[in-house]
């Protein structure tokens, strides 16, 4: 299901222009990370995907649906949005009940609902916590419940708003696994993140935003070597790319495996 932003402009009621003419196409099944300073417009942009914001000019299309004229609840069939603060949505007495809320609203009943919930719990490592009250879980775990709650809706598009912020290492790895698994399933994953290493390791496309505009758009290796654009957007490259740059490598590694492979292919060191 393709996503299209056509010349989208958005101004807040206060008059501040948060998006200045964004045109962007996201293909079905793509893994896209959006990075940039706080205030660059990242959240404003992705909130156009499920109808929280409507463009002041231009249009947003989710597949064949224009977001204009569709309610948030309608768009939730196609776009699952995981908000940053899990405590603003967890309400049920058990994890299972909360995760079932989304699928129930979308009309999944009985065995279908149960399997969607079970699947989502398994993917987020929460099967053993299914009958626990969400407030007895740590923040990291509650964030995963929020993700499970959206995964269970089986939407073709999933939006993650800072999924790794405040997470411990186990939580970050879990989010990475979830991203990979969604991609394998053919679902589109869009994430806002400040963690450039997480970004390079899990996303095939990176959009750098600054002041309501897109400054760079491409693969991580591509984007993170555009030092001028990065500097103006106040974004730093991932650690391994910084290292590769210091080592004067041509090939930019996106993860540890890639780094080691490039190192191995370099042959013995000259001494």
């Amino acid at each position: 299901m393709e996503i299209r932003f056509d010349q989208v402009r958005y101004s807040y009621p206060s008059g501040v222009e948060a998006l200045q003419g964004i045109s962007l196409t996201i293909a079905s099944g793509e893994r896209l990370a959006i990075v940039g300073q706080n205030g660059a417009g990242k959240t404003t942009l992705v909130r156009h995907l499920n109808g929280i914001f409507r463009p002041s000019h231009g249009s947003v299309h989710i597949g064949d649906w224009a977001t204009e004229g569709r309610q948030i609840a309608d768009l939730s069939e196609r776009v699952g949005y995981v908000f940053q603060n899990p405590d603003e949505q967890l309400f049920a007495r058990t994890v299972r009940e909360d995760v079932a809320f989304g699928p129930k609203n979308l009309g999944l009943e009985g065995a279908d609902q149960e399997s969607a919930v079970a699947e989502a719990l398994a993917l987020t490592g929460l099967t053993d916590h299914a009958d626990v009250h969400p407030h007895h879980l740590s923040l990291s775990e509650r964030k995963r419940v929020a993700i499970a709650a959206v995964l269970a809706m089986r939407t073709p598009i999933v939006v993650l708003d800072e999924p790794t912020t405040g997470q411990d290492e186990f939580g970050v790895r879990m989010v990475a696994e979830i991203t990979q698994s969604l991609a394998r399933d053919g679902r589109t994953v869009i994430a806002i993140t400040h963690d450039m290493d997480f970004c390079a390791e899990n996303f095939e496309r990176v959009v750098v935003m600054a002041q309501g505009q897109i400054r760079a758009d491409g693969t991580p290796a591509d984007v993170f070597t555009r030092s001028d654009d990065l500097e103006r957007a106040a974004v730093e490259p991932p650690q391994l790319m910084r290292l590769a740059h210091e080592l004067r490598w041509q090939k930019m590694p996106v993860n540890v495996e890639g780094f080691v492979a490039t190192l191995a292919s370099q042959g013995p060191a000259t001494s």
Partner: protein, 259 residues
């Protein structure tokens, strides 16, 4: 970002010490209700409240607010008392059981002008007084800082919770929650909206009290004030005068002078 009507402006009324305005409002209310002479209230409205509104530039706002708040009350009052006043003898017109009497209309005028004085006076106070400065000046006059904290934080917390309620609504709608529909569906929508808000309030209260303690809330030291509100001698005197007049009007009223 507060639930107040305050409009930030420059005027003689705005510059008055908030406690002066508060005392003035309370004195006026006491006086108009103690003095049983119908034109006193009206006189105060015309010669004190309206000029104050004009000088402070809040006349327009005052007018629109009073039309919304005051007018319905006054209309009902005039209708009820004007048409059904039992002790009315001088009849002006008759519509079946309803009799428009002079006595009834006079009564309505008396009560109406008092209510108008009360409402308009309070509105002028709210429109011209920065709540922060009001709290600070009351604390300077000896109100407990903890009381000031309770009042101010209540004013601010409400819109803050409204913002949070809005976020919760968005999050649940993004999970397919619909608000429109049959009553059963709408009832089911209450828990996912209210529960995070209420639970959030409980955790917040605990955390906030820790945070407030961390900033010396229970410190035995004498509280100092970052903001200082001017309190010229003239205003101090004026407050005493007003309070005295208010007290006198109550005493005289009890003595039956206005009967």
């Amino acid at each position: 970002m507060t639930t107040t009507l305050y409009e930030d402006r420059e005027s003689a009324v705005h510059r008055l010490n908030p406690v002066t305005k508060l005392v003035a409002m309370l004195s006026i209310i006491i006086i108009v209700f103690a003095v049983q002479i119908w034109w006193v209230a009206l006189g105060i409205v015309v010669f004190v409240v309206v000029p104050a509104a004009v000088v402070s530039g809040t006349g327009g706002r005052l007018l629109s607010l009073s039309l919304k708040l005051l007018l319905p009350i006054l209309i009902v009052l005039v209708l009820l008392q004007g048409l059904f006043f039992p002790e009315g003898t001088t009849v002006l017109a008759e519509f079946g059981p309803a009799r428009v009497t002079v006595e009834g209309l006079m009564f309505a005028l008396g009560i109406g002008s008092r209510i108008a004085a009360l409402v308009l006076c309070s509105l002028v106070l709210l429109l011209t007084t920065n709540p922060a400065l009001l709290m600070t000046s009351l604390t300077q006059k000896g109100m407990s800082p903890k009381m000031s904290y309770v009042i101010s934080s209540t004013l601010q917390i409400i819109p803050a919770f409204q913002t949070r309620a809005q976020s919760i609504l968005l999050a649940q709608q993004a999970r397919g929650l619909r608000l429109k529909g049959n009553p059963l569906r709408r009832a089911a929508a209450i828990l996912p909206l209210v529960s995070p808000l209420v639970l959030g309030m409980f955790t917040d209260v605990e955390e906030r009290s820790t945070a407030m303690e961390a900033r010396g809330f229970s410190s035995p030291a004498t509280h100092t004030s970052f903001v200082v509100v001017e309190d010229p001698l003239g205003q101090k005197i004026a407050r005493w005068v007003l309070a005295t007049v208010a007290l006198a009007s109550v005493v005289l009223s009890l003595l039956g002078v206005f009967a």
